[in-house]
Structure formats: structure tokens, C-alpha cells
């Protein structure tokens, strides 16, 4: 189950610069820690974040082990047409978590 908080304006003017904020629940295990028995805890971080606006990539980022748990990312884009924003977070275990948000452009 994807646990994410997405904050985008529901409605925007054409050509308006909008802010998009996305946070997801993830442990972001660095790979540098050891458990109580001394065994290394394998690295498991989200290493790729991607945002599509009607299937066109508008923003992407690579994450590294220094990122805190539950990463929060904010960026801006220009509202062009009414459509769907798709967010995808890919972690080291290959799990891709997705979330979507709709936007109406007037």
C-alpha cells in the first residue's frame, strides 16, 4: 500500500506556475547500520523519483543514502492542460510505489 501525501492545486490558470509537494512513507535504510545481532542491514532506499504530467516526464530525481526516512520533495511546474500527475518512487528492492493527482486547468 502506498502511503503518500500529495499536495497539488486542484485548479490552476493556464500558464500558471504551480507548486507540487510529495511525501512518501519509506524507511530509507542506508545500508550502513547493523542490527542487534551485528548483521549488516541491507540498503533499501528510494533511489528514483519521477513525476509525469499526462505521461510526459516533468521532474525526476535520484536519491542517495543521506536522504532521511519518509522523503519529502517539492518542485514547481507550469500548468498547461487539465490532466493527471503521476508520481512514482522506485526503491532498491525494485518496488515501485505510485500515486496520482488530478489537475483542472482553466
Amino acid at each position: 500500500m502506498t502511503r503518500a501525501l500529495i499536495n497539488t492545486p486542484k485548479q490552476a490558470q493556464q500558464g500558471e506556475v504551480i507548486e507540487i509537494r510529495a511525501m512518501i512513507a519509506h524507511v530509507m535504510e542506508t545500508g550502513h547500520r547493523r542490527d542487534a545481532q551485528g548483521a549488516a542491514v541491507p540498503r533499501n532506499i528510494i533511489h528514483r523519483f519521477q513525476c509525469l504530467y499526462d505521461d510526459v516526464e516533468i521532474f525526476a530525481a535520484d536519491f542517495y543514502p543521506a536522504m532521511a526516512a519518509n522523503p519529502f520533495i517539492a518542485f514547481s511546474t507550469v500548468a498547461t492542460t487539465s490532466g493527471v500527475l503521476t508520481f512514482a518512487w522506485t526503491d532498491d528492492q525494485g518496488t515501485i510505489q505510485r500515486a496520482t493527482a488530478e489537475i483542472t486547468v482553466v
Partner: protein, 255 residues
């Protein structure tokens, strides 16, 4: 300036001792940087809200041999659980001993849902406790006027004031003697448990008041009481009565 101070002093003197104490009570929120405050106050950037969302899912998910969800008996949490967190720890009638909110949830889980209790500090227990406590956000802490709680609050207070550990510190030594001053780089708050379970940036996750208390005890180089120990419940009961009137903030964010 001198006149201003004089006036302030006169006003404070007029308020009298009781009023003054209520005036001075401050949540840890007041001591935080504007950035951390902003993080707590905006539900879209408060990472605790991720756990609230999970808790809401758990509230509605049938569990245990009884195959019943929390919502099956309690309905909508926004109504049935409003104000609940302001009253805990409270006396549990079956054992006639105080129980905290997380303990109450686990008890309900065992007796009503016929399910296994969640382990202490497990993500599920924290999420469900936070979801229930969140329904009281903004409501003042109002410990029950139950005489049976008095001895527990008293022993909590004794523990709060007792010097423990290799450093010979008590809770009161810092949180009453030096509240508002600094320990290393950090401001010492007054230790009012207004926002639990809360998201500590240092922990990178949600944690309970018991985790915080155990954490402090480790810092004092004392052996922490076990999760769920009667001493911790007594401390919780005392701290909540000490924080009477401050609003619940769950899920709080702390540095």
C-alpha cells in the same frame, strides 16, 4: 522599557500564583525553530500524517478471531474518539490499574477483536494510537478527576523528582530547574506530553511517550524501565495531570 517591565510585573502579580503557573505552561512546540513548527502545522508536510493515514486504515480493517474492525464497534473515530486522548492514562476497570491509550487499544484488540496485541512501539500500534489521539487535536488535556488515579500520579511525581542514574539527574532537575535553557545545543522544554505519539526528526519515525521517557533515562545513564512498566504509566499519568489545559497536538513534530 522599564515602565513596560514594571507593568508586566504588576499584571503578573495580579494574576496570582495559580494564574501564573497556567500562564507559564508551554508546549515543546513553543521552543522549536520556525521551520520545525511550520512542518508540524502543515498537514501536507507533517510526516506524522503518513502514520495517521495508516492508522485510519487499521481502524477500518477487521482483525482477529472476532473478525471485527475498531469501526465495527466504535463507528466513526472523528465522533467516538473525540476527546479520548485528553483523558488518558485512565483507570482500567477490569484491572483497577491505570492504563495508557496504547495499552487500552491493545487491550481492546485482545478482548474484543480476539487478536494478538501489537508489540510495544510497533508501527501498527503507533499508527492506531496516533490516529485515535489525532481526533482530540486542539482539545485541552483534561485528566479524569478519579481518586483512584491519585496514588499513581503521586508515585509518578516522586519518580519525576527522584535522582536516578550515574549522572544523578532527575526529570525535574532539567525540565523544571532549567526549562527554557540549553542542554548542549538543544533547548530543554518543560516536558509536557502534548503531542504523542510524535514524529521526532532524530528518530525519523513516530515514537511514543514511553520511548521518549526511556530515551531520557538512557541519557541520564539510568537503566530505563521496560515498555509498559507500571513506573512509566505512573510517570505518564503525572505528566498528563501536570500538562492539564494544554492542547493536544498529535501528531507533533520534534527535532
Amino acid at each position: 522599557m522599564a515602565l513596560k517591565h514594571g507593568l508586566a510585573a504588576a499584571v503578573l502579580a495580579l494574576l496570582g500564583a495559580g494564574g501564573l503557573v497556567a500562564q507559564e505552561k508551554r508546549s515543546g512546540l513553543d521552543y522549536m525553530t520556525p521551520e520545525t513548527r511550520a512542518m508540524q502545522e502543515d498537514d501536507m508536510s507533517n510526516p506524522g500524517m503518513l502514520f495517521i493515514a495508516e492508522g485510519e486504515g487499521l481502524w477500518q480493517a477487521p482483525a482477529g478471531a472476532a473478525n471485527i474492525a475498531c469501526s465495527g464497534c466504535h463507528g466513526t473515530a472523528a465522533q467516538s474518539m473525540r476527546g479520548t486522548a485528553t483523558r488518558y492514562p485512565a483507570i482500567e476497570e477490569s484491572t483497577r490499574r491505570p492504563i495508557d491509550l496504547a495499552g487500552r487499544i491493545n487491550l481492546c484488540r485482545q478482548t474484543q477483536q480476539k487478536a494478538q496485541a501489537f508489540p510495544a512501539e510497533s508501527p501498527e500500534l503507533l499508527a492506531l494510537t496516533a490516529y485515535v489521539a489525532h481526533q482530540s487535536r486542539g482539545m485541552p488535556i483534561a485528566p479524569p478527576a478519579d481518586d483512584r488515579l491519585t496514588p499513581y500520579r503521586k508515585s509518578g511525581r516522586d519518580l519525576f523528582e527522584r535522582r536516578l542514574g550515574q549522572l544523578g539527574l532527575s526529570c525535574a532537575a532539567c525540565h523544571e530547574g532549567h526549562a527554557g535553557q540549553r542542554l548542549g545545543g538543544s533547548i530543554i522544554p518543560q516536558a509536557h506530553p502534548t503531542a504523542y505519539p510524535l514524529y521526532r526528526l532524530e528518530w525519523q519515525t513516530l515514537g511514543s511517550l514511553q520511548r521518549r521517557l526511556r530515551n531520557c533515562m538512557t541519557g541520564m545513564r539510568a537503566e530505563p524501565f521496560a515498555h509498559g512498566a507500571p513506573e512509566l504509566i505512573a510517570l505518564e499519568a503525572y505528566l498528563m495531570s501536570r500538562a492539564t489545559g494544554l492542547p493536544i497536538e498529535t501528531p507533533g513534530v520534534r527535532p
